[in-house]
Point group: C3
Chain length 138, copies 3
Amino acid sequence: MKQHSETLRIDTRRGLTSITEDVRRALGRSGVREGLLTLLIRHTSASLLIQENADPAVRQDLERFLSRIVPDGDPIFTHTAEGPDDMPSHVKAALTRTSESIPVHAGELVLGTWQGLYVWEHRDGHHRREVFAHVIGE
Amino acid sequence: MKQHSETLRIDTRRGLTSITEDVRRALGRSGVREGLLTLLIRHTSASLLIQENADPAVRQDLERFLSRIVPDGDPIFTHTAEGPDDMPSHVKAALTRTSESIPVHAGELVLGTWQGLYVWEHRDGHHRREVFAHVIGE
Amino acid sequence: MKQHSETLRIDTRRGLTSITEDVRRALGRSGVREGLLTLLIRHTSASLLIQENADPAVRQDLERFLSRIVPDGDPIFTHTAEGPDDMPSHVKAALTRTSESIPVHAGELVLGTWQGLYVWEHRDGHHRREVFAHVIGE
């Protein structure tokens, strides 16, 4: 049984950025063929998501829907120091995922055909986000 | 330390389908008594949930509440190729879970007394869903 | 490769209660320096969250926002046996997390600088909640 870990650095803009290939390469470097890969995003204003990887309209609709139920500048928020997208970004991260665990079989992530791995950036502007990847197995 | 993995195939209809017994049987086949069991649903329009296993009204209320905040046919959605329940199912999966990790102690999942494991089907009609189960431990 | 597991008992009131130090101590007791720590909350009316650990206003805003979209006493709910905060607490748990997995590197949780671990209590009153912690690694 062995382990491998590394930090992936992902350049983001608001919305979903695919990290499937970054994660596949990390898995390849681990040499693990049967095991478990865990991702943790080290931020509270961006999150992880496993979602549809075919039609870009799905990602746009996800962003538009979530931004409608958690609107920028909602007057309910008191934590507004970093602007109108600050507190909504924490809520959106709370409603999606900070860690995901993906089993590994025959050297591959066992994602479904239509599943991709994404960082969901909830802040405006450009950011560089850290996703920690851990692999355990054989 | 050993590992076990298998694919569970679950027949679903819209709403929550219990998979607790399916997962317990997979754990039994693994022979692991102390360790970690991870589930990944290989779809983006159905999700995983750990929820109340006693009163069926809880599952019905969950379905009705989530379908009210993410309504079928919402005009905000542009990805509508597969019908009015298509894009809402992706949003609902984004708001619930794709993977869950459950520790194993004394040969049992460490779920609380009132917790059950569910696949939450977000599409209309009947579907067969794949849930990949991975167990590591001793 | 070794494993460690224990149950953390957390006293809560409605809102977010930090468990970061409790979890760090459990990790210390495990002796694991490189590995994976998994938490499972053994309840369906409280949940886990990794969120901002600096400004308390963030936690208050999270509670107020979630209680606005899932209001106590919403007439859509039929499961009301334990009061107006009963079914909303199940929905809020469904929308946040039951398990979280955090990699361990150099003897530390790989949380970001601004990340803390929380139990989110969704019921009124005082409660004692069980969080099961499992660690695997070396």
